[in-house]
């Protein structure tokens, strides 16, 4: 069942001026409910534009965005309701923190939804738990936190709105390996606790392989290919042709197979690859 469906979406920046740029052309896409969908592509391939369309921050030049089968622009005045249902964590979300304390900042979204104080407090605690922020951090100023903590505080601000779809644009960009691992853990925990639909934009094939059920590859404003993670990463040749890559471990296994080693299915995460490699070594 499609949670979100994009129909013939076109998006043009600054139409009618010398700066006119076509960011998306005739995009048709279905995002399935209850799974993690990854979007990969080069800088400028239209990924970030596309995620801004999903919650109505941008309006497509032509085409429709359907959420549960209903056009989100049917009632333009109620677009903010769509934003509570599709929670978007933008790139470098730590730069949007502004409140005196972390708890107040996480509460900003729920407060805008008009919830009761008790409900807000409960949601702040819950969201902080999912992203792994210690309770004593909640009373600190957001500007005192470390980079990774700020990032997770910002993500908690969206999770606290309990959106039906959580969209994350480059959630691990610019973090150290430990910070990155905690972000991935956050997403896994969020999936376990809520079972919600998740969409992730990323450059990192390793992250995508670890966490995504389905992957969409974008190229110059169009969908280049899409399918399950295994399907997409099995097409290493095509991905490399457009300048993208497969996870390193997949690359290694493909190379081994080319050298004549017998491998039945090519794994795309290290944990899947370990038993196969162990078997080869015996």
């Amino acid at each position: 069942m499609a949670k979100i469906r994009l129909e013939k979406i076109n998006y043009v920046y600054s139409p009618g001026t010398p700066f006119e740029t076509r960011a998306l052309r005739d995009v048709d896409l279905e995002i399935k409910e209850g799974i993690v969908t990854g979007i990969i592509g080069h800088t400028g391939s239209g990924k970030s534009t596309m995620v801004m369309l999903l919650n109505g921050l941008e309006k497509p030049t032509s085409g429709r965005v359907l959420l549960d089968g209903v056009d989100i622009w049917e009632k333009p005045k109620e677009i903010s309701k769509v934003r509570f249902r599709v929670g978007l964590v933008m790139q470098y979300p730590e730069y949007q923190l502004f409140e005196e304390t972390v708890a107040k900042d996480i509460a900003f979204g729920p407060r805008n939804m008009g919830l009761s104080e008790e409900e807000i407090a409960a949601r702040v605690r819950e969201a902080a738990g999912i992203v792994g922020l210690a309770p004593e951090l909640l009373e600190k100023s957001p500007f005192e936190l470390s980079g990774g903590e700020k990032r997770r505080a910002a993500i908690a601000g969206i999770i606290a709105m309990k959106p039906e779809v959580l969209v994350l644009d480059e959630p691990a960009a610019g973090l150290d390996p430990a910070g990155r691992e905690r972000i991935l853990a956050t997403i896994r925990k969020y999936r376990e606790q809520t079972g919600g639909t998740v969409i992730i934009v990323s450059h990192s094939m390793e992250d995508m392989a670890e966490i995504c059920d389905e992957i969409v590859v974008m190229l110059e404003g169009s969908i280049f290919m899409s399918g399950s993670t295994a399907e997409v990463f099995s097409k290493a040749g095509e991905l490399r042709r457009i300048g993208l890559d497969v996870p390193e471990i997949t690359g290694l296994m493909l190379k081994l197979r080319d050298m004549g080693v017998e491998i039945d299915t090519i794994p795309y995460t290290v944990s899947d690859a370990v038993p196969k490699l162990m078997k080869l070594l015996k």
């Binding site: 920046y13 600054s14 001026t17 010398p18 700066f19 740029t21 801004m52 919650n55 921050l57 903010s80 934003r83 509570f84 929670g87 978007l88 964590v89 933008m90 979300p93 730069y95 949007q96 923190l97 502004f98 900003f108 979204g109 805008n112 939804m113 500007f143 601000g157 969206i158 709105m161």
Partner: protein, 273 residues
């Protein structure tokens, strides 16, 4: 993508775009002088014709140029009304109650309107529409450099303007990004009372200031790392060159001004006082 689309610069491949920015600043100044030299109907007609030629040569669509006039519509109407009703003359055209409209008043209003419109169009074509803000600051630095003799910090001043201009698109983009991020959390910037809307800007202004200070710090460090020490002994990346066409343009404008003076001397028709 928005890096150069701020201000009014309109990229095109025209004669005026290709002129040296320093000459364009001087030409704009001389053109202003020209518009004030006009006194009678013939010289104003010549001024109007020159503006039409400028527009045609600059390759900037009329639609874009009219946008430059939008902010001054009120001033334009105001001066026209004042001149029309408060000028006294010899030929009374129309009189009702306390309002008297003279032929001289109509002509004055018309002349002033033409002068203002041509002034705006002329300066925008020579400067803002065809010259990037950075080129414009460089030109000003170069034109003001004689002041260095009296120890005026011309280079530092130009550098400040350049940096400020450089950061306008960056901060605009940043503002849009932060606003989008807060909108994604349900912030509403468009409804409610003025007080409520001002309050709604806090979630945008706090992160914006934090990021502006961070950027200023980073830029200062980056400049120090590259041994920036002010203007002394500094050479330029883009050395401006004047070409024959720059001097031709300058000559044309001066000749135009001289022509206007001649028209005034042998003027025909109504002459403005």
């Amino acid at each position: 993508m928005n890096n150069i689309s701020f201000g009014q610069y309109y990229p095109a491949d025209s004669l005026i775009h290709s002129l040296d920015a320093r000459f364009k600043v001087i030409c704009a100044f001389l053109y202003i002088v020209c518009s004030f030299l006009c006194k009678n109907i013939l010289s104003f007609a010549a001024l109007l014709a020159s503006a039409v030629i400028l527009v045609a040569v600059s390759g900037i669509p009329m639609r874009i140029l009219l946008r430059a006039l939008r902010p001054i519509i009120f001033i334009l109407l105001f001066t026209v009304v004042i001149n029309m009703f408060w000028t006294t003359g010899e030929t009374l055209l129309f009189s009702w109650w306390k309002i008297r409209v003279y032929y001289e008043g109509i002509m004055n209003a018309l002349f002033i309107a033409v002068r203002i419109v041509v002034l705006i169009i002329g300066t925008s074509i020579f400067m803002t529409y065809t010259t990037t803000p950075i080129a414009l600051t460089d030109a000003l630095e170069s034109l003001l450099s004689p002041l260095k003799v009296v120890k005026a910090p011309v280079h530092e001043f130009a550098m400040m303007i350049t940096i400020a201009l450089r950061f306008i698109p960056t901060l605009t983009e940043e503002t849009n990004r932060i606003m989008a991020a807060q909108k994604a959390r349900g912030a509403d910037f468009t409804s409610g009372s003025a007080f409520k809307r001002a309050r709604a800007l806090i979630p945008v202004l706090v992160p914006l200031f934090v990021s502006a200070f961070r950027r200023a710090d980073e830029l200062a460090t980056a400049m120090e790392c590259r041994c920036y020490h002010g203007g002394e002994g500094r050479t330029r990346l883009n050395v401006p060159h004047c070409r024959p066409r720059d001097f031709v343009m300058l000559f044309v404008i001066i000749a135009f001004g001289a022509g206007l003076i001649l028209i005034n001397i042998y003027g025909v028709g109504y002459t403005m006082k």
